[in-house]
């Protein structure tokens, strides 16, 4: 009887599981460090400009390529923008696009994967062949084509990145759904007249949260890298906007000129944030991993 109760009322256990997961996550020092790094960068990029105000719209050709000083902590770039302000300004685009595109990709992938896995049959076959076909086309190629056709802006990058990045999460969620849909509590719900939508909303998705959240963190990291790639190739957001990849690309012309402040800060920012999101993802995966629980 207890076994039946356990299978038909799964919501109590997830709450306890999430507490356990949170405890496991906070014990993972690398993951916590990653979280701290992400929070610090979010504050730096979005709150920083309120404390360290710079003009990132207009150029100042009388203040170009200045080295670090009291007036400009990280110097200025080739058109006179303050580099610290530029890091904040560029970081807003990188983080916003990364986070939003990651979330968008995860949402689309989750809905697609859950539907395919739950419905099964020919619909599953067709939907997953669409995923297979999409994965066969390199995302960077699609991004470059779209960037060449349209004028890239923040919203456009979010949409394009989101629309090319949902394929992997959809596979993960579909696999999870295939195992969940044959669980007793799902079968019981269906036997007692519950609809398919209710089954997905009430049981499949809540019990896939761990997979979805882990996938989302990696999607964010991937999206930040993709934005950097596209901007590095000169097809990112257009001036006066920028992002870290664009800053890196612009700074590379100074690689032999000793103007390290144009290259190292955006490069480090990309390293730290991407590593941080990956560390968070690893921490979440370990925290949600049932097999690892002792």
């Amino acid at each position: 009887m207890s076994a039946v109760l356990q299978s038909t009322t799964p919501t109590a256990e997830p709450v306890a599981n999430y507490r356990l997961s949170l405890r496991r996550f906070t014990r993972n020092k690398l993951a916590v460090a990653g979280l701290v790094v992400v929070v610090v960068f979010l504050l730096f990029c979005f709150v920083g400009p309120l404390l360290y105000s710079t003009d990132q719209t207009h150029t100042d050709l009388h203040q170009v390529n200045l080295g670090p000083s009291g007036a400009h902590w990280l110097g200025t770039d080739a058109v006179g923008h303050d580099e610290v302000g530029r890091l904040m300004f560029g970081g807003q685009v990188s983080l916003l696009v990364g986070l939003a595109a990651g979330v968008l990709a995860t949402v689309i992938g989750t809905l697609w994967g859950a539907t395919a896995g739950y419905v099964g049959g020919w619909a599953d076959a067709v939907m997953m062949r669409v995923v297979d076909a999409g994965i066969a086309i390199p995302a960077l190629f699609i991004l470059l084509v779209v960037s060449a056709i349209t004028t890239p802006d923040t919203l456009g990058l979010i949409l394009v990145l989101g629309l090319v990045s949902w394929l992997v999460p959809s596979r993960l969620v579909r696999a999870e759904t295939l195992t969940l849909k044959s669980r007793d509590y799902v079968l019981t719900l269906r036997a007692t007249g519950g609809t398919h939508g209710r089954a997905i909303a009430r049981h499949i998705l809540p019990n896939s949260v761990s997979t979805i959240v882990v996938a989302a963190t990696f999607q964010v990291a991937d999206a930040i890298l993709l934005v950097a790639y596209v901007s590095y190739l000169g097809l990112g957001v257009q001036p006066p906007k920028t992002d870290w990849g664009g800053m890196l690309s612009a700074g590379l012309t100074a690689a032999y000129s000793g103007r390290w402040w144009l290259i190292v800060p955006p490069g480090l920012a990309i390293i730290l944030v991407v590593c941080a999101f990956n560390a968070i993802g690893d921490g979440l995966r370990d925290a949600f991993d049932v097999r690892g629980r002792g």
Partner: protein, 584 residues
């Protein structure tokens, strides 16, 4: 390795590569320089692909013609290879060109010259070229309706060493020499002619020229008149030229072997320079602060000035902004918002000069007017704002907006609707930090005037294909401004007339600028024997602003091994290997 670890590694690798690049100081390799050879770096992304000294549209490139002119000398070499633009007789087959008193014909005298197979170069070889071009003019890249060969009515071989070319009317002799006769290249009729049929011969030669792999072996390309012949020519773009031992012209090769090296990017070329494997290469303006690192490696840095102007065409037929661009006061406001002096000094690191009109000003010439020299519209964003506000525009949310439509003196002008915002977009050439920085500077100063200027970038070929001549009803006519002038927008022949650029329906008049008075001035400049006509044209366009005038950058910042000398860099952007010499 888990996917997460792979991602982590990818992220770290990307950034680490960037940091490594930042810290990398380059490597030094052994010098390739020897007294017997030279390694010359071709422009990035250019692969030589045409040997025939008659260009077709698909193979139109100044570097192709530089190579072919090294093999087959032109009748009249009118270029800047002697340090100033003029007729370089040492590099020409002709020794004299005597114009008739009425300027309706010219008698050309050929030097006592021979082909590499020992046969003499005669007037029949000149007529052979003439007949080929006359019969196939539409396939010839140099063809522009109404000009050569349309305005050449006949060519008569007077004897073996004299030809007389007759025109349809009187022409300015200097223009005719510099802009039309310079096309003529005597070709070896005895080796190339296919039964006296110029159409058949054209096809035969073009088919042979399509086989790049055969350039070094096909006997067709062995009968030459120039100082060098082809030793090897790879499809990847590397060309090796060997001195023509039978050459009897005035420009004897100074270095026996010339290696022309292709590069896919400027970075690759710069790395080759740093390694010492290039003797004559180039850097970008943004690299000038590394000048000492190149001089320490045994190089000299010498800017190569180009006979070119740089500009941003307006699309006067654009449905939304065309009516605004047609207003002279609006063009004046834009021009006055661009600080060319500072851009040339800071963004181009002093390797550009401000350009205020249609005549290149990087070098002194008798063609430029005082009006153009004086800059009729000096930089002042406050004056630019005043121009707009006095014509019915007021700033709303940071952008000037037309509030007084109409054609009155204090109104926005014909066709400009109430509520029209002064916002425009440029499709700009990508891949150049200098261009990106210039566009950012222009965007910034236009914003101070209240003009919103957005930038979209694309490779230069995309820019050219997406900004064609068009009519307002065509979907392709959405472009507003175009920029393709990272290394100069337009390289002129020696006589800088604007017939292709600014004459109504001119072949490269991308924005459809049209002004009857300017058309007359352009026509006068090609027919009048006085320079006053072209100076009037210069003054008129400096004031009328058919395009946005921008700083004129050097053609390239050359970096050459110390000891390489004895020549001037041709401002018409050709290279002349026969003039290169190792002086020490």
């Amino acid at each position: 390795m888990s996917p997460a670890r792979t991602r982590l590694l990818a992220g770290v690798t990307l950034s680490a590569c960037a940091l490594l690049l930042a810290g990398c100081s380059g490597s030094t390799g052994s010098s390739s320089a020897s007294k017997d050879s030279i390694n010359y770096a071709l422009p990035a992304n250019f692969t030589p692909n045409w040997i025939l000294p008659i260009g077709t549209a698909a193979h139109l490139n100044t570097n192709n013609s530089s190579i072919s002119h090294t093999l087959w000398e032109p009748l009249v070499a009118y270029d800047g290879s002697t340090g100033k633009i003029g007729w370089n007789k040492a590099g020409s087959i002709a020794t004299a060109a005597d114009f008739a008193a009425d300027n309706k014909s010219v008698k050309i005298t050929l030097g006592d010259r021979h082909w590499s197979d020992g046969k003499p170069i005669t007037s029949q070889d000149v007529k052979f070229w003439f007949d080929l071009i006359k019969a196939n003019k539409k396939q010839w890249a140099g063809y522009s309706p109404g000009q050569a060969p349309d305005n050449w009515t006949s060519l008569k071989a007077d004897d073996d060493r004299h030809v007389t070319l007759t025109f349809d009317k009187a022409y300015n002799p200097q223009w005719m020499l510099a802009n039309e006769l310079q096309y003529i290249i005597p070709l070896p009729k005895h080796a190339w002619d296919q039964g006296g049929d110029p159409v058949k011969t054209w096809t035969y030669l073009n088919n042979a020229a399509k086989n790049i792999g055969g350039y070094a072996s096909n006997p067709l390309w062995k009968t030459i008149s120039g100082p060098y012949g082809v030793k090897s020519f790879s499809t990847a773009g590397k060309v090796v030229l060997a001195a023509n031992k039978k050459y009897d012209g005035g420009e004897k090769p100074g270095i026996p072997t010339v290696n022309l090296l292709p590069f896919t990017t400027t970075d690759a070329e710069k790395n080759a320079l740093r390694s010492g494997s290039v003797d004559y290469g180039y850097i970008e303006a943004t690299d000038l602060d590394q000048k000492e690192s190149f001089t320490a490696r045994g190089y000299e840095v010498k800017p190569w000035s180009g006979w070119a102007i740089t500009y941003m065409p307006y699309n006067f037929n654009n449905p939304s902004m065309g009516p605004v661009f047609k207003q002279l006061y609006a063009r004046q406001a834009i021009q006055r918002s661009i600080d060319q002096t500072t851009i040339a000094k800071v963004v181009f690191s002093g390797t550009a000069v401000p350009g205020y009109g249609p005549i290149p000003t990087g070098q002194a010439s008798a063609f430029v007017s005082q009006t153009q020299k004086d800059n009729p519209y000096p930089f002042s964003t406050s004056a630019a704002r005043a121009l707009l506000t006095s014509h019915g525009w007021s700033e709303q949310s940071g952008v000037m907006t037309c509030t007084r439509p109409g054609s009155g003196a204090s109104q926005c002008g014909d066709g400009v609707a109430k509520g029209t915002k002064f916002q425009m977009q440029v499709l700009s050439q990508s891949g150049s930090a200098v261009t990106d920085n210039m566009m950012s500077a222009i965007q910034s100063s236009l914003a101070k005037t209240g003009i919103k200027f957005s930038i979209k970038t694309a490779p230069v070929n995309s820019v050219l294909s997406q900004t064609p001549q068009c009519t307002a009803s065509q979907s392709i006519c959405k472009w507003q401004l175009s920029f393709f002038g990272t290394a100069g927008s337009w390289y002129f022949p020696a006589f800088p007339t604007g017939d292709a650029l600014f004459q109504s329906k001119g072949g490269s008049n991308f924005g459809n600028y049209s002004d009857a008075k300017v058309d007359q001035l352009i026509s006068a400049s090609t027919t009048s024997s006085s320079n006053q006509a072209i100076q009037d044209y210069s003054a008129s366009l400096a004031k009328d602003l058919p395009v946005i005038w921008l700083p004129e950058p050097d053609y390239q910042i050359s970096v050459m091994k110390k000891g390489l000398g004895g020549f001037a860099q041709d401002s018409l952007a050709n290279f002349h290997p026969a003039q290169w010499k190792w002086t020490s």
